[in-house]
Amino acid sequence: MPTLASEKKTTRPSARPGRPAPELIFGDLWEFDPAPETADPKLKARYELFINGEFVAPKSGKYFDSVNPANEQKLAEIALASAADVDAAYQAAKAAYDNVWSKLPGRERAKYLFRIARLLQDRAREFAVAETLDGGKPIKESRDFDVPMAAAHFFYHAGWADKLDYVAPGRRVAPLGVVGQVIPWNFPLLMLAWKLAPALAMGNTVVLKPAETTSITCLKLAEILQDAGLPPGVVNFVTGAGEVGAAVMNHPIPAKIAFTGSTEVGKIIMRSLAGTDKKMTMELGGKAANIVFDDAPLDQAVEGIVNGIFFNQGHVCCAGSRLLVHEPVAKEVLAKLKNRIKVLRVGDPIDKNTDIGAINSKEQLGKITSLVASGVKEGAEMFQPACKLPTKGFYFRPTIFSGVSMSHRVAREEIFGPVLSILTFRTVDEAIEKANNTAYGLSAGVWTDKGSRILKMSTELKAGVVWANTYNKFDPTSPFGGYKESGFGREGGRQGLLDYCKLV
């Protein structure tokens, strides 16, 4: 019969001081069969512009291809809007605002938004497949995150439409009028929901341009808007690249411009709007610090680090792209991270087992590749797992740089890909200093078991969102947006509504 003393002698992985836990190499032991999601995305061969409640051909008669970044095959062709189409969209939005939408009581506007949320939930799987085919993100993310979260945003904001007297204490609010919105390709449907739902709840009408590589779910949502009976012109979609975006920004009708995208483009837009009275919301880039202290639950932190940087192939403005590790645990965290990313499955996004899907476009793949090359050239130590990549399509291995210093480009510039830069720190003050030493200020992560330290870090970090012992969490009730050059304005929550109204 074992005594207490003999029990103590039993060694477990967690009780081996100074030695890492034994490595589990799943790759050699498990072979995954392909598990593609087979729901029909119900794609059309050709997508038209959505103006005044109708699908209309572009005046130029021109179309461009939307390709699946996972295999470079054409999915559909998309209408290329011209300035004349953008003008038609704004005229429709203005007429809808003047004649219909501004006259509807809030409770009626609410019902349309509730309907949109419900219809999107009905077709969630179809939308998830379309999103993954068009953008390259893993189906498990579009299925479990993008689409349900988009529906949740409509549902949340719907309920605000008849409660706007509670948005700004002591003041009445009024809609701004027509709003112009331009969104990026990393969360096509979700960004659309973030933009549309608060604007409509507040009583504005909208002209929106999706990113040129990811227009399909936007135009599929137009079908839902029709099914919901949304009055024509309340929402209009124009598709195309940068010049269409410029036409949306610089048209005289919109009272407000809302943009999500890179800081570089955000600054160009701010300059182009200088001298106008247009209000703006800018949700721009980031270079978030994810800070791990030595008392953090390290296995949990490693999961959070992986989620922070490899979620959506790192195409996330708030990605935890700078890992700051407390020196005493730096070696251990790096070893655990390497083990963890060895078992990430990179490949076909439509496969339900895929962790990291396709890079959104050839152009973005080129940008990531060149920044990673700069990291190697500047002397950081690179680690990539030896995973097989599909022969066709745009893919990039999850990449970790250790030995990074603050001056390295990979520590300063937004890579927008699955690339993590690791720096170390010794004291709390050094962590704060390094975390804040950037022009960006969108988000940050803190991993520690100490509650008071979390609150101190949250207070000191110059970032709009701070995740403590978690990362990349989002919710319609939770305001999201940046400090400094990560932009201004918030999306979500009561605070997000403030950016779509004027006080009267």
């Binding site: 600054k267 919710d475 400090y483």
Partner: protein, 288 residues
């Protein structure tokens, strides 16, 4: 027998000290009757940058004061102005205002400070909140001061407008670099003396005098000014917006063509406090 009075050399209040412009330049100020009154510092871009440095040093300490303490200090500033109301009214009357109008402006200014003093420990309860996220997290949104705020005061209401613009910013813990009315700078000079005796730490409010044309471009482009509030004409608004784009600076400008009634209740608001705040959202897991 008459005695020749001692006149005061006007100095601007920067970093808690009374200074002349680093350029040693001045411009003459005349009273309403056209008689020479004093030479006012003609501050430069360099003075502005120095003032921003002073504001940066004072910032963290001021933001860390308790809301209760900030409220008391702003109230104290009101006390300091009230105690020297007559002198301040004379400074305003220099610009041509009647004695009655000048006294009214001083009184309204003190009242405005008392209004914001009261907000210091309340705005957070109205602007921030807990968010009911659909997951096991405690999620809350609080406000934080943006940092250093540039203030461009309009020409008219040289005291009331200036204070109406900077008071909401310091209420929440921001620090301020302000350019006073060019044509009526003397109330701002005198205000500096009251700031100095108000318990407000040096560098929290920095007041400059000089020409807008010289200063506006640097207000527009200085990266460390996180927001600009104030009055500007069409050309200035465009220049400020272009400069603001370089560092994604926040702008809250009113048009000099359609200035608000600074005496009205609508010239003071919770929204004025909010305009120089950032919202920060923190997620924290709920679990054992």
């Amino acid at each position: 027998m008459s005695r020749l009075p001692i006149t005061k050399t006007p100095k601007v209040y920067v970093g808690g000290a009374f200074i002349r412009s680093e350029s040693a330049r001045v411009f003459p100020l005349k009273d309403a009757a056209g008689n020479f009154f004093a030479n006012i510092p003609q501050c430069t871009r360099k003075d502005l940058r120095n003032a921003v440095e002073a504001a940066a040093k004072a910032g963290p300490g001021w933001a860390k004061r308790t809301a209760y303490n900030r409220g008391q200090i702003i109230y104290r500033l009101g006390e300091m102005i009230e105690a020297r109301a007559g002198e301040m009214a004379e400074a305003i009357a220099l610009g041509g205002a009647s004695k009655v109008a000048a006294a009214k402006e001083v009184a309204a200014t003190v009242d405005r400070l008392i209004y914001y003093a009261g907000w210091a420990d309340k705005y957070e309860q109205l602007l921030g909140n807990v968010n009911p996220v659909a997951a096991p997290y405690f999620n809350f949104t609080v406000t934080e001061p943006m940092g250093i705020i540039g203030v461009l005061a309009p020409e008219q209401a040289p005291l009331l407008a200036l204070v109406s613009l900077f008071a909401p910013a310091i209420t929440s813990g921001n620090t301020v670099v302000a350019l006073a009315s060019t044509s009526q700078p003397y109330p701002a000079i005198l205000l500096g003396e009251m700031l100095a005796t108000s318990d407000l730490p040096g560098g929290v409010v920095n007041l400059l005098t000089g020409y807008r044309k010289e200063m506006v471009p640097t207000f527009a482009t200085h990266t460390h000014l996180r927001a600009l509030v104030g009055a500007a004409n069409a050309d200035e608004r465009k220049a400020l917006a272009l400069g603001a784009a370089d560092s994604v600076k926040r702008l809250h400008l009113v048009k000099t063509e359609e200035l608000p009634d600074w005496y009205a209740d609508s010239a003071q608001s919770l929204e004025a406090v909010r305009s120089t705040l950032e919202f920060k959202t923190t997620w924290h897991p709920i679990g054992a």
